[in-house]
């Protein structure tokens, strides 16, 4: 997943143009929008500071007469966004209606209705067939004007969306030269939008990806109630059922296929309904193969979780399973899994942090991990790394809501001897188990003690600070480093 970077695409026009297509294209370009974003991000390593204001460009398209669809990453951390269409002479300010970081989509609206004069509104099509051609329109680098390119649908599969780096949904892979700036642009087939250009593979040439209309429609349905809730998770790990010895041992009849459940994750939809060693045979009536795939359409078999991925919170999931020698049906509602939130990249909101005597604490997050990696601190960070990647799978999340890490210090005499504890995860403060950073702040803020004893995981010796020293140091740290607790 790391090889996929978020960029936008562009297809080069190489097709002989028929007159009918010309008039089609005139309609198309009236619905494609150039987006200019001025963004200001935060630095996870120094969360009290902001990065500089950065200008970037992307593409969007009009749907539903006056709404502009684009990628979430085009407008992430935006402070000011403008749009312009083909042959317009001024830029129009837009507001963000909805953002979905877990599927990299956003919906915008121009504040001035005159932006939409003589515009085209797109309809959403179905998932295109393999080997069918599509046209991608957008405003990639290499010039200011609208750019058109054409490619072929080369593959359909589930893949990680680089924007959050965690969520995995259906993607449509197309063969095209891809350039930054195309992000959020429509892929068009038969005058309908069949995908949103959103990322490319950084290894290999001409591998670009579209967000399919199933995902776009999911997003549009989710926001009908006025807010975006996000995707649901099944929350199981599975093992194929190829192995004959394992089948014999578990007394699985020969004609049964499907996959074995190896782990049921805390907080997932399946918790309390599926069990370890269940053999999942069918989902919503679709037979699951021994490799865990179902038939989606004639083009490709796809992982069975795609069925769950298309469900909204509360919708029923139905499994036919083989458990303890019995064929049974298990139904349960799909639900979101907040446990995964910490693993996603964070946008548009500040990082939570806490400074205590110059020691800076933060909840473990992907952004912090990334910054930490940039600082090349590979030695000694294994506890942090392990707990980040195995927090859910190893049930660490059953013990604690969110890990708090002491990840850096702002040098001050009070913390001269604290280096030993850097990059360690807090276990308890004054013998009270810490559940999250909010809890940590509350415990430290209590008045009824003279020492703060912070015990970190996997090491027995605690860090000891004196309340009166902390109070004095906090003031000094605040003055010197311009950092305060929010």
């Amino acid at each position: 997943m790391k090889y996929i970077l978020t960029f936008l695409f562009l297809f080069l026009p190489i097709v002989s143009v028929l007159s009918e297509q010309i008039s089609d294209f005139d309609k198309v370009r009236k619905g494609v929008v150039q987006i200019r974003t001025y963004s200001q991000g935060l630095d996870a390593f120094s969360p009290w500071l902001t990065t500089g204001v950065r200008a970037s460009g992307g593409t969007g398209f009009i749907i539903d007469k006056n709404k502009i669809m684009t990628n979430a990453h085009v407008i992430s951390n935006a402070k000011y966004i403008q749009v312009q269409r083909y042959n317009q002479t001024t830029w129009y300010e837009v507001e963000i209606l909805f953002v979905a970081h877990d599927c990299d989509l956003a919906l915008l609206k121009a504040k001035d209705e005159s932006f939409y004069e003589d515009s085209t509104s797109f309809e959403l099509g179905a998932i295109p067939d393999l080997n069918s051609s599509i046209t991608v329109v957008g405003y990639p680098i290499g010039g200011d004007k609208i750019s058109v390119s054409r490619g072929i649908v080369s593959r359909k599969e589930q893949s990680t969306y680089a924007h959050s780096e965690v969520d995995s949904h259906l993607v449509i892979q197309v063969d095209a030269a891809i350039n930054p700036g195309n992000s959020g642009g429509p892929a068009i087939q038969d005058n309908k939008v069949v995908g949103v250009a959103f990322q490319v593979a950084s290894r290999g040439e001409n591998i670009g990806y579209l967000i399919p209309t199933t995902v776009i429609k999911y997003f549009l349905k989710d926001i009908e109630d006025g807010k975006y809730d996000g995707y649901v998770e099944l929350g199981v790990r599975t093992l194929n059922s190829f192995n004959n010895t394992l089948r014999e041992f578990r007394k699985i009849p020969k004609d049964l296929n499907g996959v074995f459940v190896t782990k049921v994750l805390k907080g997932g939809s399946a918790e309390g309904f599926l069990k370890k060693n269940d053999l999942l045979l069918e989902i919503d009536g679709l037979p699951i193969g021994r490799n865990g795939t179902i038939v989606l359409d004639k083009d490709a078999r796809i992982d069975f979780v795609e069925i769950v991925d298309n469900k909204h919170s509360g919708e029923q999931i139905s499994f036919r399973i083989f458990r303890d020698g019995q064929l049974i049906t298990v139904n349960f509602p799909a639900k979101r899994m907040d446990e995964f939130t910490y693993m996603r990249h964070k946008y548009d909101e500040p990082f939570d942090y806490f400074v205590l005597g110059g020691l800076v604490f933060q909840p473990i997050s992907r952004d912090l991990l990334q910054e930490w990696n940039k600082n090349n601190e590979t030695q000694g960070g294994s506890q942090f790394l392990y707990r980040f990647f195995y927090f859910i799978d190893d049930d660490l999340c059953k013990d604690v809501e969110s890990d708090v890490i002491l990840y850096r210090k702002l040098a001050h005499p009070i913390n001269t001897n604290s280096d030993y504890f850097l990059n360690m995860v807090v276990e308890s403060v004054n013998d009270i188990k810490i559940q999250n950073i909010k809890h940590f702040k509350e415990i430290v803020a209590k008045k009824d003690y003279s020492f703060v004893k912070i015990k970190f995981r996997d090491i027995d010796v605690p860090l000891i600070l004196k309340k009166e020293d902390i109070e004095k140091a906090d003031k000094e740290v605040q003055t010197i480093y311009k950092v305060g607790n929010k």
Partner: protein, 500 residues
């Protein structure tokens, strides 16, 4: 311009000085060092049924009394052949190893050819070192002739030698010349003060084993090939550096000490020291808040100096060391018998593998082995970023056994694909958590469980269930294993399916 002139001038000056000293030193010491040629064949932890390519390297051997030669253990580990050659001769003669100590990195060779030592002169190592002095460093070039390089001792500190779990004192050596750290003899005015075991050319600095450590080593009787004469203190400590921490642990401002942070099971300190004991005095010496005592000659040295290399204070293997502690805010003096580092407390070997090949077992195409840092290091120099983070975490925090436990982690290194193990072909570096529902603690235990009832043709007993850390189950059918193993052995050309 100016700087260029200056560099040239310095260069000439040093060239001259070494020219003058070379003759005298060379003459005096050419018969105290020998050239050692070692061929080693390291085990391949990733493909454990075959060794790595043999490698040949050179080292400096130091001539000892009783017709013995001193070399570094790190250079002869997994040796297949050792040859020695002296200054006056063009022929190499084979040598045999009579002692290999991983803790002190010192080994002793013997040469069966009685004539070999005829014109060789054994060296005497000094008992005391002046740690801040210019020194001569004797090395051998490719042709075997002696080179004398200039250097300077800049202090004494403690660290783990290349293969040892026991920290020992080392000499800081600075030199602007090209050195190898493969046994160069360090001389202070014709007196042997140490042997160089590491040199970083980019920093112009190296590390040497001090003469008093070598003396402790060569005094022993060399009865067994393995084993050490260097005791291990058996605990790790944390400084109590500030008044806040002192106050918290009930120490008054003027009293210094360190906190016992970990007690190694089966070690010297096991049963004597406890977590959170505060060590005030060790071996009769006052211990400061960082864990140093004041050595009469070498200045501030860590506690470990007294336990690991404390002969001059009367502490050696088997002797008792007095320790004054503060336990539950009460002072106590206890007496701890000093013992060697307990190898059975190591859960994930990381300094040395005791010269053994890693044990492996191939069953049903699954390659089983025990987790070690050497296995992880097969991923190359950037192994820490390439290895699974869980294994890295276990290696950093759980490589020592807890009290009462002596196990190792058993894992599937990879799978040799076959129809019988279909479904598991991409499995690698997966720890086996349980076998038939019970925790698995060694590869031998796994082997025994597989062999037990292997004649069963049917029924539940013919199955062996392995649960991996990630929740997967692997089932072996004992009745079919023999046939599968024979097939796999032939297909992949594996000589032995296990090595223990």
């Amino acid at each position: 311009m100016n700087s260029k002139l200056l560099i040239t001038f310095i260069f000439f000056a040093s060239a001259y000085s070494s020219l003058f000293s070379l003759e005298t030193i060379e003459d005096k010491f050419k018969n105290t060092v020998v050239q050692v040629k070692i061929t080693t064949q390291s085990p391949n932890f990733l493909f454990p049924w075959q060794p790595k390519k043999p490698q040949t390297s050179g080292a400096v051997g130091v001539v000892l009394a009783n017709k013995r030669i001193l070399v570094f253990t790190s250079l002869i580990d997994y040796y297949t052949s050792i040859e020695v050659k002296k200054f006056s001769s063009y022929t190499s003669v084979p040598a045999t190893v009579i002692k290999m100590d991983y803790e002190s990195n010192l080994s002793v060779l013997e040469v069966s050819d009685p004539d070999f030592f005829k014109d060789l002169v054994p060296i005497q190592f000094e008992t005391k070192i002046e740690p801040f002095k210019p020194v001569s460093i004797l090395q051998l070039d490719n042709s075997g002739s002696i080179q004398n390089s200039k250097g300077r001792l800049t202090g004494i500190d403690m660290e783990n030698y290349p293969m040892g779990y026991t920290e020992l004192p080392y000499l800081h050596v600075n030199s602007n010349e090209k050195l190898d750290g493969n046994g160069e003899l360090i001389l202070d005015n014709d007196k042997a003060v140490g042997v160089l075991y590491r040199f970083t050319a980019s920093k112009n600095s190296g590390k040497a084993i001090p003469s008093f450590v070598i003396n402790t080593f060569i005094k022993q009787k060399f009865e067994k090939t393995k084993g050490t004469v260097f005791p291990f203190k058996g605990f790790r400590f944390r400084p109590i550096p500030d008044e806040t921490t002192k106050e918290y642990f009930g120490l008054d401002k003027k009293t210094d000490g360190v906190l016992v942070a970990e007690v190694i099971p089966y070690s010297s300190a096991d049963k004597y020291l406890q977590l959170n004991d505060i060590i005030l005095e060790y071996g009769g010496m006052k211990i400061d808040s960082q864990g140093y005592f004041k050595h009469p000659v070498y200045g501030k040295q860590y506690i470990s100096f007294l336990a690991h290399s404390g002969e001059e204070f009367g502490f050696k293997m088997g002797s008792k060391i007095p320790v004054k502690i503060l336990r539950n805010k009460k002072e106590e003096t206890i007496s701890i018998p000093l013992r060697a580092f307990p190898y059975k407390s190591v859960k994930i070997p990381y300094m040395n593998n005791e010269g053994k090949e890693p044990e492996y077992l191939i069953k049903g195409g699954f390659i089983f082995a025990e987790l070690s840092e050497f296995l992880m290091k097969e991923f190359g120099t950037s192994w820490r970023s390439r290895i699974d983070k869980k294994l890295l975490y276990l290696n950093d925090y759980y490589r020592m056994n807890k009290k009462g436990d002596t196990g190792r982690y058993v894992l599937i290194v990879q799978v040799l694909p076959d129809d019988s193990n279909n479904g598991y072909h991409s499995l690698s570096f997966e720890i086996i958590k349980t076998i038939n529902g019970k925790p698995l603690k060694s590869i031998r235990e796994l082997d025994a469980a597989i062999n037990e009832g292997s004649s069963l043709e049917s029924g539940e007993g013919k199955f062996l269930s392995l649960q991996t850390e990630n929740g997967s189950e692997i089932v072996l059918d004992k009745s079919t294993l023999k046939e599968i193993d024979a097939k796999i052995q032939k297909k992949f050309g594996i000589e032995r399916l296990k090595n223990f």
